[in-house]
């Protein structure tokens, strides 16, 4: 069994990125990351290795994200100008903001799935986290990639 410190060091950046992809707000994403690790700390002793520890932690994190809808704060969804062509020399930060804004336009479950895809989690693990069948997950991922590709093409990001 891994120690809490080890788990935190290994997973906190990943969890933060997933929360950020979902909520598109730095402060809220940091709060959600902290809440996730509070839950991990509270329940680590009762974790029985029935699933992989990463699946367990990502489930806690994504469930926390879904619970965020109970708070009245609106998600940040910046309207993207239709004909905006982003210059090639844009900074990494601008590219990242653009990516977050594209993800923010997706439905809640899609935002979770694409964030997990971008974290390079296997499809079977994503299916186990979200609670969809493998086939359904694969179909959703394919559709989301298409949606994102259209957005990026519209904004001059694809060749």
């Amino acid at each position: 069994m891994m120690e809490f410190e080890e788990i935190y060091a290994q997973y906190s950046p990943q969890i933060f990125r997933v929360c950020m992809g979902y909520i598109n707000d730095y402060e809220q994403a940091r709060d959600l990351t902290q809440e996730t690790f509070i839950s991990v700390w509270k329940n680590l002793a009762s974790f029985r290795n029935q699933s992989k520890i990463s699946t367990w932690i990502f489930r806690i994190a994504t469930n926390n994200c879904l619970r965020a809808l109970e708070r009245s704060k609106r998600l940040k969804t910046t309207e993207l100008p239709f004909n905006l062509v982003i210059p090639q020399e844009e900074s990494q930060e601008e590219k990242l903001t653009f990516l977050y804004n594209c993800i923010a336009e997706l439905e809640e479950t899609e935002r979770i799935i694409i964030s997990l895809v971008l974290e390079d989690l296997p499809q079977a693990e994503i299916a186990a986290i979200v609670g969809l069948s493998n086939i359904n997950t694969r179909v959703k991922i394919h559709r989301m990639k298409e949606k994102l590709a259209i957005k990026f093409k519209q904004h001059g990001q694809f060749e």
């Binding site: 809490f4 410190e5 935190y8 060091a9 906190s12 950046p13 933060f16 990125r17 950020m20 992809g21 940091r30 990351t33 902290q34 690790f37 509070i38 839950s39 700390w41 509270k42 329940n43 009762s46 974790f47 029935q50 699933s51 367990w56 489930r59 994504t62 469930n63 879904l66 619970r67 809808l69 109970e70 990494q92 930060e93 590219k95 990242l96 990516l99 439905e107 809640e108 479950t109 899609e110 979770i112 895809v117 971008l118 974290e119 390079d120 186990a128 986290i129 979200v130 609670g131 969809l132 990639k145 994102l148 990026f152 990001q157 694809f158 060749e159």
Partner: protein, 193 residues
């Protein structure tokens, strides 16, 4: 930018350096646990002490009036109700079930619906028990003096009326409005699975 790998590269550039280190997170956990549990523990201890006092009164003070007995029973029930409700919260705080997102949304829908029932029925029953208990229990202490009866009951009834007709409806409206909105959002969310 032409494929998913490029997106992954951008994705990984997110700044995670401002997250607390493992010592920082431990401090936060400690603070969170203390804040969450302190209030509930205080309510449980207060309710236990009051219920204990009421039980000892039942055994040590042998009342001749049935109204006092009814009042004592009602107040003990209300005290037990308060202890059980808050103990359930602490129990939920320490228990965790590993659920995927779909199961979690179903669980939240059930929990919020149960909470709504709690505000509509269970809480009313607890408050009614405490109110009836107070009304009955007071009588024996003041029944010797007519003026004392009038003043005591006028004050008590005024207090109960404010609680039932002003404080509770406002809190109830706020809680149910929030819960209704949450349940609606959860229903929309569960359609995505």
């Amino acid at each position: 930018m032409d494929n998913l790998n490029d997106l992954k590269k951008v994705w990984l550039t997110a700044d995670t350096s401002r997250l607390p280190d493992s010592n920082g997170i431990k401090q936060l956990i400690k603070k969170y646990r203390n804040t969450m549990l302190l209030k509930k523990t205080a309510v449980i201890i207060a309710a236990l002490v009051l219920t204990g006092i009421m039980v000892s009164v039942v055994f040590n003070y042998h009342s001749t009036m049935v109204t006092t007995r009814i009042g004592e029973v009602c107040l003990i029930i209300a005290g037990v109700f308060l202890v059980v409700t808050n103990a359930n919260f602490i129990n939920r705080f320490y228990s965790y079930t590993d659920l995927n997102n779909k199961e979690f949304i179903e669980f939240l829908e059930q929990t919020r619906a149960r909470q709504l029932r709690y505000y509509k029925k269970t809480q009313v029953a607890g408050l009614a028990c405490a109110s009836v208990g107070l009304l009955f229990y007071l009588y024996e202490g003041v029944c010797q003096d007519r003026l004392l009866i009038v003043i005591s009951y006028a004050l008590l009834v005024a207090y109960l009326l404010i609680m039932w007709l002003v404080v509770r409806p406002i809190a109830f409206r706020r809680q149910t409005k929030k819960l209704d909105a949450t349940i609606k959002k959860l229903e929309e969310l569960s359609k995505q699975f």
